[in-house]
């Protein structure tokens, strides 16, 4: 209801002041008075003179659509004029325990340049709690949606230099509707925000000044916020749709935020986001029910950089480029455990001249980096990254003009060597050939082993050590060095590598980009044998926030098999995927164990009984797994340690066709893996069996 009201209101608001803004934007800006504002009331509602200054009132004051005179004296006291030109500042002085601002409607679009909305000014904000820049201290002030209301956006920013700092924003979403035009988001940045819905009264497209790059807000900063989760860090009752939507803005900076639990992407760009800087954020567990990719880039993104972020446990790709213009730099990120729900590339590249370096890319049910074949994408340099735990190639260049659905999600696998110049015109990175070793095994010499192979002439061949099993392709674990291929297209490198080492390589050419990896070759001992290298225990990365450092030194965990009395399955009612109270108890036990033993990961295998169609049952089993996962997420189990695997009716628990047998079939099984390689014993249970 409220939303509908807003449509009308918004349309008027957008058309009338929007028009005014379009014409004299400069004049309008200079005319604004600057204030230092203190928000003292968590209430929301129509602007009116009363006791405390609400955020809505503060924004309107900063915007100049409200003058202090229209408010009560008490409120005027919270608005101190500042020297013009430096921009207004909104601080918070909310009563203790009332730091949640629950909106009933969209806040006014922020048109005041250089406005700073600073949640760190609220008493109780503990700056020192930030141990890692990626995990800022918990905000005190949170901005969310009042119960029963539907608000599409938290903050809508349309002015240069606006800073949003130290807030928690969550719960901004809309229900599905037919003509939704712009994605709901915690923070929406655009020259003039298009309305949430199109309607007969929607202003014409030209009004949004999309073509006018100068009109786009410049230099907006979003920092140290928690987006998508309340200050207590729990899963919100109503998740937000998207995190930050950079619809039409340049040089936006998004840094040191924690962006979590969104139904859609954590960060999405729309028409223009040139100069976007995304750095040192923790982007975890997003894409739960919609656009699954953590960072989704579309439109103009020239000179963008995504650096030093933790992109973890999102449901799709870590970073997905779709028909972007301009080049981006992606470096220093940890992109791991994504693809929780969909098998996608960790990074999907579309466009030219992107630089992808020094990232860790791992634990993805898809390739590490995929480069699309169409639109033809060239000169993407993908070097110096480390890869682990992939289901696909470390780098996958789509070829043969492949444009099926799968090609845009998971790539198309290893390419044949280029057999004609025309392959360059239908292959990502212009079909640069992957290096190929002369043999699958090289006998080591006294001190060194000489690796030889072929690659495109003149390319730089980066040699990698490969740690994981897998043939012919395995993730590129660690760069070993670079050699240059001769003009004849051969390369040779002498390295001191212990026998048993397995190697691969990629070739890069400034003119074409980086290739797919070479099939793995192994270093053999002098007698031609292939010794097993001692397994170095891998420190598995996770998505957890850092814990306070001084911790009592625990004794090293015992290396004998664990025997846990933890159940490993839960059951469901006929045709249901909700968690019964009995199952909830069991899940609680599982959650407890998962939290206690951080080295455990679990696959959630959903199953159904054999009745109904295979298609229906597959979907039902997926819903069951999802329900169990989501329950565990809410119990605090890190999402990166869980993976959903629906089986439908293909793997029954029993053979019979009685009610009990069917009840046993309707289950989610928890297949635990101990990452340290220990054996564990788990127990089946039937306490929550639900008969028909």
């Amino acid at each position: 209801m409220k939303q509908r009201w807003w449509i009308g209101y918004g349309a008027v608001a957008l058309t009338v002041p929007g028009l005014a803004l379009t014409v004299p934007p400069v004049a309008g800006q200079s005319a604004l008075g600057d204030y230092s504002l203190r928000v003292t009331s968590p209430e929301d509602g129509p602007v009116q003179p009363d006791e405390g200054l609400t955020l809505r009132e503060a924004i309107e004051l900063a915007n100049g659509t409200l003058t202090p005179e229209q408010l009560s004296e008490a409120e005027q006291a919270f608005a101190q004029p500042l020297p013009t030109g430096q921009g207004s500042r909104i601080g918070f002085d909310l009563p203790t325990g009332q730091t949640t601002i629950a909106l009933v409607d969209l806040l006014p679009e922020i048109v005041a340049p250089e406005l700073v909305i600073d949640g760190t000014t609220q008493a109780g904000y503990d700056v020192s709690a930030g141990l890692d820049p990626k995990f800022p201290p918990a905000p005190v002030v949170s901005l969310t949606v009042a119960e029963g209301s539907e608000v599409a956006r938290g903050l809508t920013i349309a002015a240069d230099g606006v800073t949003v700092r130290g807030l928690s924003l969550y719960g901004f979403r809309t229900s599905d509707r037919a003509t939704q035009t712009t994605p709901p988001a915690d923070i929406f940045i655009s020259a003039l925000a298009p309305p949430v819905d199109s309607s007969p009264l929607s202003p014409a497209l030209e009004l949004f000044r999309l073509e006018d790059a100068e009109a786009a807000p410049r230099g907006v900063i979003v920092e140290q916020n928690w987006l998508g989760l309340p200050p207590n860090g729990e899963f919100p009752a109503v998740p937000s749709a998207f995190g930050v939507s950079v619809f039409n803005a340049v040089e936006t900076t998004i840094r040191n935020n924690r962006i979590q639990n969104h139904d859609g992407s954590a960060i999405i760009t729309g028409f223009r986001a040139d100069g976007l800087q995304v750095s040192e954020n923790a982007i975890i567990g997003n894409g739960l029910a919609g656009m699954p990719d953590a960072i989704r880039l579309e439109g103009a993104i020239a000179s963008s950089a995504i650096t030093d972020n933790l992109i973890c446990a999102n449901d799709g790709s870590g970073i997905y480029f779709f028909k972007t213009e301009g080049a981006a730099q992606i470096s220093g990120n940890a992109i791991q455990y994504n693809g929780r729900r969909f098998e996608r590339a960790a990074v999907y590249l579309m466009g030219n001249d992107h630089q992808l370096s020094d990232n860790f890319i791992g634990y993805q049910p898809g390739p590490g980096v995929a480069v699309t074949a169409y639109p033809l994408s060239l000169r993407n340099q993908i070097r110096g990254n480390r890869y682990a735990g992939l289901d696909g190639l470390s780098i996958d260049l789509n070829t043969q003009g492949n444009t099926g659905v799968q090609d845009f999600q998971k790539g198309d696998g290893p390419n044949p060597p280029r057999n004609s110049y025309h392959r360059r015109r239908e292959t990502g990175n212009a079909a640069i050939n992957s290096p190929e070793f002369d043999a699958y095994g090289f006998v080591t010499g006294a001190a060194e082993v000489t690796l030889t192979g072929t690659a495109d002439p003149g390319t730089e061949v980066d040699l990698y050590r490969v740690a994981e099993e897998g043939f012919p392709y395995s993730p590129l674990s660690e760069p070993l060095g670079t050699v240059t291929a001769s003009p004849e297209g051969t390369f040779s490198a002498s390295l001191a590598l212990p026998p048993g080492t397995r190697v691969s390589a990629i070739a890069s050419d400034p003119e074409w980009g980086t290739s797919e990896p070479a099939p793995v070759a192994a270093v053999q001992a002098a007698d031609g044998s292939l010794p097993e290298l001692p397994v170095t225990p891998v420190e598995l990365p996770n998505c957890a926030a850092p814990v306070p450092p001084p911790e009592p030194v625990e004794p090293p965990p015992p290396l004998e098999p664990l025997v846990l009395t933890v159940p490993r399955n839960i059951h469901f009612a006929l045709d249901r995927s909700d968690i019964s109270p009995e199952s909830a108890e069991i899940l609680d036990q599982i959650a407890e164990v998962m939290l206690e033993y951080p080295f455990l990961t679990v696959e959630l295998h959903g199953h159904t009984d054999p009745r109904a169609s295979a298609a229906y049952n597959l979907a039902l089993s997926e819903r069951r797994s999802l329900a169990a996962r989501n329950y565990l997420v809410r119990q605090g189990v890190p999402p990166e340690r869980m993976r959903i695997v629906p089986f439908g009716e293909t793997q029954r628990r029993s053979q019979g066709s009685g009610r009990v047998e069917y009840a046993r079939d309707r289950r989610v099984e928890f297949v635990f893996t101990d990452l340290r390689g220990l054996e564990i014993t788990f127990q089946d249970q039937e306490a929550d069996l639900q008969l028909e």
Partner: protein, 1241 residues
């Protein structure tokens, strides 16, 4: 969505709504020559993330806007006035010669070929030979529907056949299994048939010790359904290639849209293997492995789409409706005319069943501008532009020749069984052509009801009813070595009703088909339904000369229905089939079919059985009985077949068979047999040493009944009717005894057979016995080159049908799966040709996966799949360079081969009709050269060309073809195709002028802006209407026509849209060299629409149609304002005016006009009135992105003491908006459980 925003606000009610619907439907139903608005407006977005849900793509609904339709009708009209067409397109030859040859008018120029056919007295005896092991008799249907409805017929082969022709193969110990190939699904073996899901297959090549191969080999993968995704290691070869590194490989198979089991095969050619391990023997077999996967019915979310249009106005003023309705003299006087048009498409899950349906209340779902058809057509010539400007693919989900299509389908509860379904619409008869069937088999294209259900115990019941069945015709044509044009015996073929096969049988021994290859329209041939001509994409050789086997001849077999307005019949059929052990076991079936054609009745029923006997044996049997009544004719007869094969001892295999047909038995819808023939025999093969094999054969054939009467008159040849006219009686026996040995000498293989043939003719009362020594040699010269030789030497008496023949040849294995063979055969003594020379490009069709072939003919942002293949594809297989392929052929037959066989006298004839007629086809002396080239390497353009020349005494045929298509710029796509040929039927070649066509098309579509789109097409046709009837009429004619169409749409802003079209057809004809005329027709059309407010638009359209030669002028004008009640409902109020001045004698003459206001309501059926349609709002981003949102906010109730979860729960499991499978509980199948349905719910 960009393209949506500037979509036209068409003046016509339908134009707007149906047009936007057209977004989903690439303008496939476009009229003959002119483009359509839908074509122009199909989203310009290139294929990126063009996640076209294939099942949505084609709803056989209201896909054409009214405006288009009106122009479509225009074109139909303009055909009529062209008098030339009156002459060249006469009605079907309807002579029904139930008595013997009618005295026909003398043939002005009787072809020498007929005279040359030496007519011999009936009743002398010729001879016979053998048949191939596992000779394939696949029965098939059309390929374009393969995605949805086509099942593989009977696994594509019959288990046994009369004794094999048994080509010489090397004898080896055969035991050295040095390498093995494995193939298994990685995890899942069944996935939903949604065109999207994939399953992973893994495999390995290992050595005898089980170690992985130490090298890389290329593995070829094929699948009977689905498509491999990923990078094809060698896109130029048939099938999907992967590189097995150290022997290991992995591939992903994507499901098709139709639920079915599929067999995936992996293959490593012997040649590839020998490259890896040169020590392998030359006869080391190719590695093969198969695995079974299945695709189950995808219960997809429901879609309903369509348009409903209501109009009321003055009579004859429906300017935006059909052209036929506007100014229709019959309705001009009506004050009020009300019309209601609706087109709907729906698909979705209904319980466990997948429902697909379409309905149009005014026309057939398959209708094109010029008539109805079975199935939608995919031929290039029937598509306006095979360039859509995007790479969308089209599937026809709802083919129906009438207004309704319905289908309910679900997976059978029985494992390995096909899906259960019930449908109304167009269908093939795949269930009636199982692997155990020949005499009872039926391969036809029909329309009506069909149902298939498999009971829990493995009993499968199929029933069908076909309505409106037209007369069914079977033609057999002797190919002449070129690709066409081949005339059928009848004109006006019912569109889509044909089935085309290439059959192979032994030279001079008709009656036993050794191979039957189905051909697919659009991919393998194009057909002109009006005059009944076939043009194949590759030359069809007359003879298959294998120096190591026996000489075979090819036949083109075409069955079809004839569009005859006066004859309509119906057909019922049912089949009950029982497979006790699923796919692995045998099958027992019973079939009954009844066809009622008014004056004709045909009934066929029978039983068939196929059972494995242990591991090594197989038994197959069949009994069939047919009755045929037509007027005085009353034929009935039985057919029997029993075949047995087995390996009783190690190294010994045996086969025995008996097959017999009464001369009254008839079934024209199956593979060829000779009524009245009985053949039985047996064969034993024994491996007596590591290098030695023995073979003994006994084979007897008896022919009874009558031979086909030799036709010499033009009428008799050109209008042969439905069944061949019967001539003299035959009663003869051929007994063949054969004993032979095959010995391996190193790499060379030598075979020597002693053959005794005994002929006994009881009519002429003669008897002959001849002995022959057959020696065959296969001598490998190099790794890839072999010398082949065969000598069939008569000892003493010469059997005229088995003269002394010496054959030598060279075979060159050019590349895996493709080889070239040059062979020369000399014949001395006896009848038939004196020598035969042939050069063939041999292709291993086993590896020819059509799906991967069609992928080759795609142009990103241009066209896709079968469209491209139809436009330029020739399927040439010999790879010269990446993307460059070729075929070469040469065939020389010296001397005619019209012999007197056991089945009667052969004679030159353009086509043989009916089941028995084909035995009278012979060989005509000729020399044929052919070369074809195809280029597909450049992603921006593709081209193909061919040249074939055939020279016979007195006549010649040149076939020329060239096609190119590509993107000239990012926005401009072009296509050109040229075809020229004479006619290839015996006795017709050169009797008519060449037919030629040239087509050019250009489409402008900017992928990033759709402000302007334009289409241009030009077509030139020469003698488009030549038919054999003009020979009969003794007239020669020369006709040409030119068709030009220009079309453009311009939308500068979202408010304005301008549309214009110009069409011209100019025809000339010369009759009898002294009388000629020409004719032209013009169409000009323009439209402007202006959207002046959010809900309002106004538009005007004007149209002029003129045919100056007859003084015909028609103008029409309409002005309309529209108001959108909702985005999906538009009210229109307008005024239309039109007048026609008809100066011709027909059509009433004079001037007529109509004008008046009208009112209309048009509604798009989709979310109408909040819930009328059921398309979900804001559908999940992709289907596989579906997530049960409620689960995310589900907070489970705190654990309580033994309380049940509340009924509706805190978590509605599936929120209504996203409910996908709402009515499909996992739940209870009554026969499975006794729990009450619904259980606790």
């Amino acid at each position: 969505m960009m393209s949506l925003s500037s979509r036209s606000l068409g003046l016509g009610l339908l134009t707007t709504l149906a047009g936007s619907f057209g977004l989903l439907l690439p303008g496939h139903a476009a009229p003959d020559a002119l483009g359509t608005a839908a074509d122009l407006e199909v989203g310009a977005g290139p294929a990126v993330e063009a996640v076209v849900d294939p099942s949505v793509v084609e709803a056989a609904g209201p896909e054409r806007s009214t405006v288009e339709r009106s122009t479509a009708e225009n074109l139909t009209i303009e055909v009529v006035p062209g008098e030339a067409l009156e002459l060249t397109r006469p009605g079907p030859a309807e002579s029904a010669p139930t008595t013997s040859a009618i005295a026909a008018p003398t043939w002005a120029d009787p072809k020498a070929a007929i005279a040359a056919a030496t007519v011999q007295p009936q009743g002398q005896l010729p001879a016979v030979l053998e048949a191939e092991p596992g000779g394939a008799v696949p029965l098939a249907n059309r390929r374009e529907n393969a995605e949805i409805f086509d099942f593989r017929f009977g696994g594509d082969q019959l288990p046994l056949n009369p004794p094999s022709t048994y080509p010489l193969t090397p004898v080896g110990p055969g035991a050295e299994a040095a390498y093995t190939l494995t193939l298994t699904p990685e995890s899942e073996t069944q996935i939903p048939a949604n065109g999207r899901s994939t399953l992973t297959l893994v495999g390995a090549v290992t050595t005898a010790e089980g170690n992985p191969l130490a090298d890389d080999v290329i593995v070829t993968l094929t699948s009977t359904a689905g498509e491999f995704v990923g990078a094809d290691y060698d896109a130029d070869r048939g099938g999907f290639q992967v590189l097995a590194r150290l022997g290991q490989f992995e591939a992903q198979l994507r499901s098709p849209l139709d639920a079915r089991p599929a067999t995936v095969q992996a293959f490593v050619s012997a040649q590839t293997l020998r490259d890896v391990d040169p020590s392998l023997a030359r006869d080391y077999p190719a590695l093969e492995a198969t695995t079974q996967v299945s695709f189950y019915t995808d219960l997809r979310p429901t879609i309903i789409s369509g348009v409903v249009d209501f109009r009321v106005g003055r009579g004859g003023t429906n300017f935006l409706g059909s052209f036929r309705d506007f100014l229709n003299p019959d309705s001009l006087s009506d004050d009020v005319e009300v019309s209601f048009t609706t087109g709907l498409f729906a698909t979705g899950a209904v319980g466990d069943w997948l429902f697909t349906g379409a309905y149009n209340n005014t026309r057939g779902l398959n209708d094109r501008c010029d008539g109805s058809s079975l199935y939608r057509d995919v031929q290039a010539c029937d598509q306006t532009y095979p360039v859509y400007g995007d790479s969308s693919t089209t599937d026809f989900l709802t083919p129906s020749i009438d207004s309704l299509y319905l289908r309910f389908q679900r997976d059978s509860l029985v494992p390995d069984a096909g899906p259960d379904y019930f449908m109304w619409g167009d269908y093939g008869t795949q269930e009636f052509a199982g692997e155990s069937q020949q005499f009872t088999a039926t391969v036809r294209e029909l329309h009506g009801f069909k149902g298939n259900y498999t009971f829990g115990n493995g009993l499968q019941l199929t029933a069908l009813y076909a309505d409106n069945v037209r007369p069914f015709q079977r033609d057999t044509i002797a190919p002449d070595g070129t690709s066409g044009y081949y005339f059928l015996s009848r004109r006006l073929v019912l569109r889509g009703s044909e089935n085309v096969f290439i059959e192979t049988e032994e030279f001079n021994r008709p009656g036993t088909v050794l191979e039957r290859i189905p051909l697919y329209r659009g991919v393998d041939y194009t057909i002109d339904y009006d005059r009944g001509t076939l043009l194949f994409d590759q030359p069809v050789d007359a003879v298959d000369l294998n120096p190591l086997g026996v000489t075979l001849v090819r036949r083109i077999v075409v069955t079809y229905q004839v569009e005859d307005a006066s004859v309509r019949g119906n057909l019922y059929a049912g089949r009950l089939q029982y497979r006790p052990n699923g796919d692995d076991g045998g099958v027992v079936g019973a079939t009954v079919l009844n066809e009622d054609q008014g004056a004709q009745d045909f009934t066929l029923y029978g039983f068939d059985v196929l059972f494995p006997l242990g591991e090594q044996g197989l038994i197959a049997g069949e009994f069939a009985r047919s009755t045929f009544n037509a007027g005085a004719t009353n034929n009935q007869g039985n057919a029997y077949r029993i075949e047995l094969s087995g390996t009783p001892f190690d190294g010994v295999t045996g086969q025995a068979f008996y097959r017999s047909t009464d001369s009254g038995f008839n079934n024209t819808a199956t593979s060829t047999f000779r009524p009245g023939q009985t053949r039985w025999g047996g064969q034993v093969l024994a491996q007596v040493g590591p290098q030695t094999r023995l073979r003994a054969v006994v084979d007897q054939e008896r022919n009874l009944g009558t031979a086909t009467a030799v036709q010499t008159s033009a009428a008799g040849l050109l209008r042969p009717g439905q069944n061949a006219i019967q001539g003299g009686a035959v009663d003869n026996t051929l007994t063949e005894l054969r004993a032979g040995i095959v010995q391996q000498f190193g790499t060379a293989t030598l075979g020597i057979d002693f053959v005794n043939r005994n002929r006994d003719d009881r009519i002429a009362n003669t008897s002959t016995s001849a002995n022959q020594l057959v020696s065959r040699l296969n001598l490998p010269l190099t790794e890839t080159l072999s010398a082949l030789a065969q000598s069939e030497l008569n000892l003493g008496t010469t059997d005229p049908l088995y003269p002394t023949r010496n054959t030598i040849g060279l075979e060159w294995a050019v590349q895996p799966g493709v080889s070239l063979r040059l062979a020369q055969q000399f014949l001395s003594g006896g009848n038939g040709p004196g020598s035969i020379t042939s050069l063939d490009t041999l292709v291993d069709y086993e590896l020819d996966d059509n799906t991967t072939l069609t992928n080759r003919y795609s142009l990103l942002g241009g066209y896709n799949g079968i469209t491209g293949q139809g436009a330029i594809g020739l399927n040439h297989r010999l790879v010269l360079a990446p993307g460059l392929r070729a075929t070469f052929g040469f065939e020389r037959i010296f001397g005619d081969g019209f012999n007197l066989t056991g089945a009667g006298q052969q004679f030159a004839q353009p086509f043989a009709v009916g089941q028995g007629g084909s035995s009278s086809l012979g060989l005509l002396a000729s020399t044929v050269y052919s070369v074809g080239l195809e280029y597909t390497d450049n992603p921006d353009w593709q081209a193909s060309g061919r040249f074939e020349y055939r020279d016979s005494p007195g006549s010649s045929n040149i076939v020329l073809g060239a096609a190119a298509a590509g993107k000239l710029t990012e926005s401009l796509t072009g296509l050109a195709r040229f075809d020229l040929a004479n006619f290839a039927n015996q006795t017709i070649t050169d009797a008519l002028g060449n037919s030629a066509s040239l087509r050019l098309g250009l489409a402008y579509r900017n992928p990033v802006s759709d402000q302007f789109n334009g289409l241009l097409s030009y077509e030139y046709r020469r003698n488009p209407g030549s038919t054999p009837d003009s020979i009969l009429q003794g007239t020669s004619s020369e006709a040409q026509d030119h068709t030009l169409a220009l079309e453009g749409i311009y939308a500068p802003t979202y408010r304005w849209e301008f549309y214009g079209k110009y069409g011209l057809r100019y025809s000339t004809a010369n009759l009898a060299e002294n009388f000629g005329f020409s004719n032209s027709i013009h169409l000009v059309q323009a439209r402007a629409t202006y959207r002046f407010a959010y809900r309002w638009d106004v538009g005007a359209e004007v149209r002029w149609l003129g045919q100056p030669a007859v003084g015909y002028n028609e103008t029409g004008f309409a002005l309309e304002a529209g108001y959108y009640l909702t985005p999906d409902v538009r009210l229109g109020l307008g005024y239309s005016f039109g007048g026609a001045n008809d100066g011709s004698f027909v059509g009433g003459g004079g001037y007529r006009s109509a004008s008046g206001p009208y009112f209309g309501i048009t509604a798009k059926v989709n979310q109408l009135f909040n819930g009328f349609g059921v398309q979900p709002v804001s559908p999940p981003q992709q289907q596989d992105s579906y997530v049960d949102e409620a689960d995310l906010i589900d907070i489970p109730a705190p654990p309580g003491p033994e309380t049940e979860v509340p009924e509706s729960g805190i978590t509605p499991e599936v929120p209504p908006e996203t409910l996908q499978f709402e009515v499909t509980p996992e739940g209870p199948q009554p026969e499975v459980t006794d729990t009450a349905p619904g259980g606790e719910e």
